[in-house]
Amino acid sequence: MKKEDLPQDPGALAKFTREVCYVKNDDGKYETALSEGWDVKKQALDSAWEDVNERVEEARKAVANGEKSPVYYFMELRLMDLSVLSGYTGIFPFFIKRHFKPSVFKGLSERKLEKYARAFDITVSELTNFKG
């Protein structure tokens, strides 16, 4: 990429930092230059967030309809998947899946609820009282 072709499209990083890129100068040699961002990347990031927001909204509806427990909703809200949530709680994925069921969730011990609440950065009552 030539230095003059380096895109400068402000994106999510705009207020925080610019990125170092390796570009060719007029002599055909490599040098570094700073970029504000690139629309192609910005849109990839935006579409990833659209997907996240949709997943969270679907999870919220599933809780409201009594299909899923709040564990499922907060997992989506915190951008986690089973392996990440398992890492933060120490609970095996197989059991986490069971805890997605509202009926199983109701019977969870205080200790397990605390583990989940800590992983999600919320209080136990926020977790148990979430109705969608």
């Binding site: 990429m1 999510a12 990083l13 207020k15 925080f16 930092t17 610019r18 990125e19 170092v20 890129c21 390796y22 570009v23 060719k24 040699k29 490599y30 570094t32 230059a33 700073l34 690139w38 629309d39 192609v40 990347k41 849109q43 990839a44 990031l45 579409s47 990833a48 967030w49 997907d51 997943r55 951008l79 986690m80 998947d81 392996s83 990440v84 890492g87 933060y88």
Partner: protein, 343 residues
Amino acid sequence: MNIDSQTDEFHHVQTAHCENGVTTALLRYHGLDFMTEPLAFGMGSGLFYIQIPFLTVNNGPAISFRTMPGAIFKRTCKSLGVEVTRKKFSNPAAAEAFLDQKVKEGVPVGCQVGVFHLTYFPKEYRFHFNAHNLIVFGEENGRYQISDPVMEDVTSLSKEELSRVRFAQGPLAPRGHIYFPEKIKPITQDMIRKGIVSGIRRNVRDMLSIPGNFAGVNGIRHTSNHVRKWRDKLGLRKASLYLGQIVRMQEEIGTGGGGFRFLYGAFLEEAAAYLQDDRVSNVSEDFTKAGDMWRASAIKMAGVYKGRLTEQKDFEEIADMMLEIRLVEKEAFQKLSSLKLGK
């Protein structure tokens, strides 16, 4: 252009990729002034391609354009005969005590962290990615002074904030991973040349002869074959999210696929000067071309996730572009392999 911003003794270095940056800044701190990001990247054989089978990241395919985390620092130090200390911890308190000891001694150290709780990052960038690297180089008013190589300037984190990211969980959990050069002997030009040559040779091996069809240059073909099927198999919406994920893996801070090809081109340019071998700088041009092609493919993929391109033929075109990139990279590494750069 302000890349270095001065602190007491340690110089912050902003780089295109975090691990290169940590390697470069730590080695420079220890007096290896010749170290640059391209050199660290090339000696560490950083260029790679892999689509990890059976693994998804953030609900999309797990693709990496670089070698595994930690390898660049390890290999670059090894080829220069630099002794390295690295530690992992099961206990956050012990990890913090060890770090505090190093800070007290005035030794800058590299830390592996997760970005999800990294407070100075914009929220939009905070996914669960656990192989980010930064340097802790001091303490001020109860906060750690942080040199994050992707940031223009130095920043800081509280004790709780740093402990939290050092003990992020999930795939590649850092477990308080801390590392720093211990002993550095005088480095000769000959050692640098040897390091460059072995770095190139290892990279040739990784890209051309790694077994399996999902890694190295063949990995690009593997993904290309997937791309062809995504629209039918996953539906347009999910398929375009997957393409978006490729672009993010390829171009976002700290991952940069197209960017890595330019970085490798820059490395070969530097290598040519060290080795006094023009043939090497000729191959540099091939990587510049590959980088440009990756960027062109990203633009095409953006057409899909922006909803402008929706036909199967658009997916076919993207897949074909990837096959062309594979050929360019394959030939470039074959050229490097045939140069007989000696030992």
